[in-house]
Symmetry: C2
Subunit: 267 residues, 2 copies
């Protein structure tokens, strides 16, 4: 089942993964250094990827940058991700209502993956990036996804996790995390302040599919200074209403065995 890796493919992916939002232009040699591949391999692979449109080459610098070819693939993936489609209009409304950045995360490979975001128009705002991967133990969205996982999966991930203190508020004690996850399950939403990025706060709530499984987390995030107790209360109410609508649109009918949020003041 765990098939043999295709070397060429792995290497091509490795090369593309070198590029980031900040490091968006890199030469062959630099990529070779980062990947540990030989310069000739990188040169040939990257030239081929240029021909395919996966990379572009600056004619003067001769350095490479990301190309447009992946756009269509990403679009196809997104288009057929039905959570995203259902959530989109609700996210839009939530943005108008809260004036903060709204993001949608799904669980992918023991991490959370941002599949949609709409950014606040305010000058001071949280920028989210579609396609970005973040840890599960830091930030409200991550904690929500972790909290609603089946017990054994949750425990497995916590045990595997190498806790790093991104900020002074990051939860690095597994026992404290477990305690907080229990509380999140009880109240139906999560709150965080500066766990992943200092000064960034957020509230998050889980989205259920027709089977009653949690498949995504919706978050409202912004600078911590704007998250006063009164505002937090309003955001919690807004996000609970939003995830309720999305979950129902996905065919979620009630609460099977996830004993969630019915004893919460949702409206």
């Amino acid at each position: 089942m765990q098939a043999e890796k295709i070397q060429t493919l792995e290497r091509a992916i490795q090369i593309l993964d070198c590029y980031t939002i900040d490091q968006f232009e890199m030469g062959v040699r630099e990529v070779a250094r980062l990947t540990g591949l030989s310069a000739s391999v990188c040169s040939r692979l990257m030239a081929a990827m240029k021909d395919a449109g996966l990379l572009t080459q600056n004619p003067t610098t001769r350095a490479y940058a990301m190309g447009p070819r992946a756009l269509r693939w990403a679009e196809i993936y997104s288009a057929n991700l039905d959570i995203r489609n259902v959530a989109l209009p609700v996210i839009n409304e939530l943005l108008l209502e809260t004036q903060e950045t709204i993001s949608l995360y799904i669980l992918d490979n023991d991490e959370r993956l941002c599949v949609e975001r709409m950014e606040s128009a305010q000058n001071v705002r949280i920028v989210a990036r579609i396609g970005r991967r973040l840890p599960l133990y830091a930030g409200s969205g991550g904690k929500v996804l972790l909290a609603y996982l089946p017990q054994h999966r949750q425990e497995e991930i916590i045990r595997k996790t190498d806790f790093k203190p991104f900020t002074s508020s990051t939860i690095i004690d597994p026992e404290q995390l477990r305690k907080e996850l229990r509380q999140i399950r009880m109240q139906g939403y999560a709150f965080s302040n500066g766990e992943w990025v200092a000064d960034a706060a957020g509230v998050a709530a889980p989205i259920f599919d027709h089977k009653g499984d949690v498949i995504a987390a919706l978050t409202i995030s912004g600078p911590g200074t704007r998250f006063t107790p009164e505002i937090i209360r309003r955001h919690v109410a807004a996000i609970l209403q939003a995830v309720e609508r999305i979950s129902r649109d996905l065919g979620y009918i009630g609460n099977a065995y996830n004993q969630p949020q019915q004893n919460n003041p949702r409206y």
Copy 2:
């Protein structure tokens, strides 16, 4: 310079390209048929791509669909496409003002490539798809890009083009196209009605970079029935104002040798 193709890479790309918005789930054998590759090759490559996250596999059907891996690459490409970033807020305003679908196209490989779109919220609307490729000779956006190309490039593309009548309104006579392109250059914008999709009309205008080259086309599109002469006049005014702002934000200072739109009533 035209390096030898990397077979494995080409094949992997070929496989991913089989998937579309409508055909988003396909089995190994079907992909093999479409690509002409052997089933074993497809199986192995696709299994590897699954491991990489480029594809996902439905555990019950065993069929494959697009995976999330390409999201990040697309995001990196988009993030560093400065036209798009500059255009985004203007597109947003244009959507609010016109209530029609707004799209941004760049020239890529003798075709136009949609790199951004915002959709009208109206029930009857044009749906655009980021990453989609369309021909240059049909539709307002394509004609604009073609019109502002250097003469020899324009001629080269027209000669290479295999004109297909997508609708009864599609321009398939090269001479008529040339005439229309000249007019577009003179008036600074393009209009089309049902050239690419019947019942779909649009207006488009060019975006210039700091060198005075046209790097993109912005379009307003919607059902032809809504495009009355009065509305068209309003949309033309709106889009000219929009491309003016975007071009200026990109460092476009005036009109170098592209002798464009200064003798038009822009405001």
